[in-house]
């Protein structure tokens, strides 16, 4: 099958749309998933005191 202009534009206009929508939804759900809040807070604070050297 040739990768013609019509085919690429069809893929871009159909599959491209849905995969980007799915991606946006997925990421938003992940970022705002309630039980992950603590982990994110901890990560945000973790950099403020990080000069204590590696453990490994």
């Amino acid at each position: 099958m040739d990768l013609t202009h019509d085919l690429t534009s069809l893929i871009a206009k159909s599959f491209g749309l849905f995969y980007l929508i799915a991606l946006s939804v997925g990421i938003t759900v992940y970022a705002y998933w309630p039980s992950l809040g603590k982990r994110f807070d901890k990560a945000a604070n973790s950099i403020l005191d990080d000069e204590d050297g590696p453990c490994r």
Partner: protein, 550 residues
């Protein structure tokens, strides 16, 4: 610095040097009479210098330090100093290019000093030399701190840093000899491109291996940005540089693409170079150094995740806005335009997140020029992304394209955002790395800040004026339907702005020179900070003076 490598590591380093020297010799011999031969000589000299440093250390006793208790910061230090060197060279070239546009006689009639050759020395010098080294150096710093793990390896960080600089030198010297692929920001020829791929793959592996050692469960968001920068730049670089060398003994090559496909590939590369070189990596810096310096966690960590994925997945599609009104199919142009407009959302989310982090700490911003660098950088980031989204609209682009407006947009981003966030990060990290109390002179930091801000504002306003005048003159018709202005008329109208831009650039360059001097003096003369224990200390010893519950 090589004394800190173990004996086995020194031998590996030596072997790499020998291989490099051989490659340089072969290039020099095979490419005689071609610029490639001169590049072979450069590679040979670079390998020789590195060999000298390795050999000096090779007989030394094994290092006695305990590698599990501290971070490995030598390559970071070297990278920062090299970045400042390139800043002065690259911006110095920028001022020269700007001056040539105002006073063409400043070419001095040599071939190597013509506009077309020194312009890419400026762009590569600042983007890759200054920006790239700063990114590599700060990424080493940030990846270790955020994962509380030492760099995975001691030779590979040096390989990446020095190898990357070899690429930069081959690139810049090639331009002066007239070597170019004629693809903007991807000018170096095939052998330099292959070399960069090797360096970049080692860089990526180093990053992943360091993260794999991490002692933090969550990978801090700055690392995501740095990783996107490394990974996507690798993909872009490889695809856009697919080419067939005309001969294996010469620099010339031909692109694997033709016509509008070539143009689209180039601007897919070009725009994502902006996105992943000039934006993603520097956002990594922002998300680490700004909260750190302000001593406040990022305003919304969740928002930072959202904007990360937004930036990654929107930017990839935006490149076609560089090709409005060309042979590119209309729907592809529209696609690029749409994604560019959507990009405003994650871009402003990042800029807003940074500014909201400072909300409540404005007194720190007022007192601390280092933090002010970062704050102004976030503002310019917001400004230039707004402008970019606007310029990507086809109707607006019909006015801005080919004019100095684009150059103004570029420098609002490059000077206002990229350079300022880098200087802010350098000022916050240098005293820490060299174990000094503070920078040698905070007054010089203050001077630098105002010089840089004034320089950027003058530059950008000059180019906005010049570009819009130019664009409007090009589209003014007489009653009989002919063009009202000749090309020369536009040049006359733009001349005062070119002079202003050269002056603004000179201010910015002066600031960069002050920064280099200040960093040098900090390393040499600033009083040392003597921590109670060897620095960095263990966490028990570093209890905050005020208990955390307060």
């Amino acid at each position: 610095m090589m004394e800190r490598l173990t004996g086995a590591e020194r031998q590996i380093a030596l072997m790499i040097c020998v291989v490099m020297a051989t490659v340089g010799l072969v290039m020099a011999a095979a490419g005689r009479g071609d610029p490639m031969g001169s590049h072979g000589a450069i590679v040979l000299i670079a390998a020789g210098i590195t060999t000298f440093f390795v050999l000096r250390a090779i007989g030394e006793p094994e290092p006695a330090e305990d590698r599990t208790v501290n971070y490995y910061d030598d390559p970071t230090k070297a990278g920062l100093v090299i970045a400042l060197f390139w800043a002065v060279v690259g911006m110095g070239m920028g001022v020269w290019v700007a001056a040539q546009l105002a006073w063409p006689d400043l070419r001095f009639d040599a071939a190597w000093s013509s506009f077309g050759r020194i312009r890419p020395v400026h762009t590569s010098g600042v983007i890759f030399g200054f920006g790239g080294n700063a990114l590599i150096a700060t990424s080493y710093h940030v990846m270790q701190r955020t994962s509380r793990a030492r760099l995975a390896g001691h030779v590979s960080p040096w390989f990446v840093l020095l190898g990357f600089n070899l690429f930069c030198i081959v690139a810049a010297s090639g331009y002066l000899m007239g070597v170019t692929q004629s693809k903007e920001y991807a000018e170096p020829e095939w052998y330099a491109d292959i070399w960069l791929v090797i360096v970049w793959v080692v860089y990526f592996v180093l990053y992943i291996r360091t993260l794999a050692r991490r002692n933090e469960p969550h990978i801090y968001v700055a690392n995501w940005y740095y990783m996107a920068f490394i990974l996507v730049v690798a993909i872009l670089h490889i695809v856009n540089n697919l080419a067939v060398p005309a001969s294996l003994t010469g620099a010339k090559s031909y692109s694997a693409f033709a016509g509008v496909q070539d143009a689209m590939t180039q601007w897919w590369y070009g725009h994502n170079a902006v996105a992943f070189f000039l934006t993603a990596g520097f956002l990594g810096m922002l998300y680490y150094f700004l909260p750190k310096r302000a001593e406040r966690p990022i305003y919304s960590y969740r928002l930072s995740i959202l904007s990360f994925w937004g930036i990654v997945f929107f930017y990839i599609w935006a490149g076609s806005h560089h090709l409005h009104y060309t042979a590119l199919p209309q729907w592809v142009q529209t696609l690029g335009m749409t994604f560019s407009v959507m990009l405003l959302v994650p871009s402003w989310a990042s800029a807003g997140n940074a500014l909201m982090t400072l909300n409540g700490a404005w007194h720190k911003v007022r007192d601390d020029a280092t933090l002010r660098f970062m704050m102004v950088a976030a503002v310019f980031y917001g400004l230039s992304t707004f402008e970019g989204s606007f310029m990507a609209v086809r109707a607006v682009n019909s006015l801005s394209h080919y004019t100095d407006w684009t150059v103004g947009h570029v420098h609002a981003g490059a000077m206002g955002w990229v350079a300022l966030i880098t200087f802010g990060s350098i000022y916050s990290v240098v005293p820490l790395l060299w174990k000094r109390e503070t920078m040698y002179s905070w007054k010089l930091v203050e001077w630098h800040f105002w010089l840089a801000l004034a320089g950027t504002v003058i530059y950008v306003f000059a180019m906005w004026n010049s570009g819009i005048i130019q664009g409007l003159m090009w589209r003014t018709y007489t009653d009989s339907g002919t063009l009202a202005y000749s090309f020369t008329d536009t040049l006359v109208a733009m001349h005062p702005y070119y002079v202003a831009r050269a002056c603004g650039g000179a201010l910015f360059l002066t600031g960069a020179i002050l920064a280099a001097y200040n960093v040098y003096m900090t390393i040499r003369h600033a009083p040392e900070k003597h921590p109670e224990r060897d620095y960095p200390t263990s966490s028990e010893a570093a209890e905050p003076a005020v208990p955390a519950a307060e």
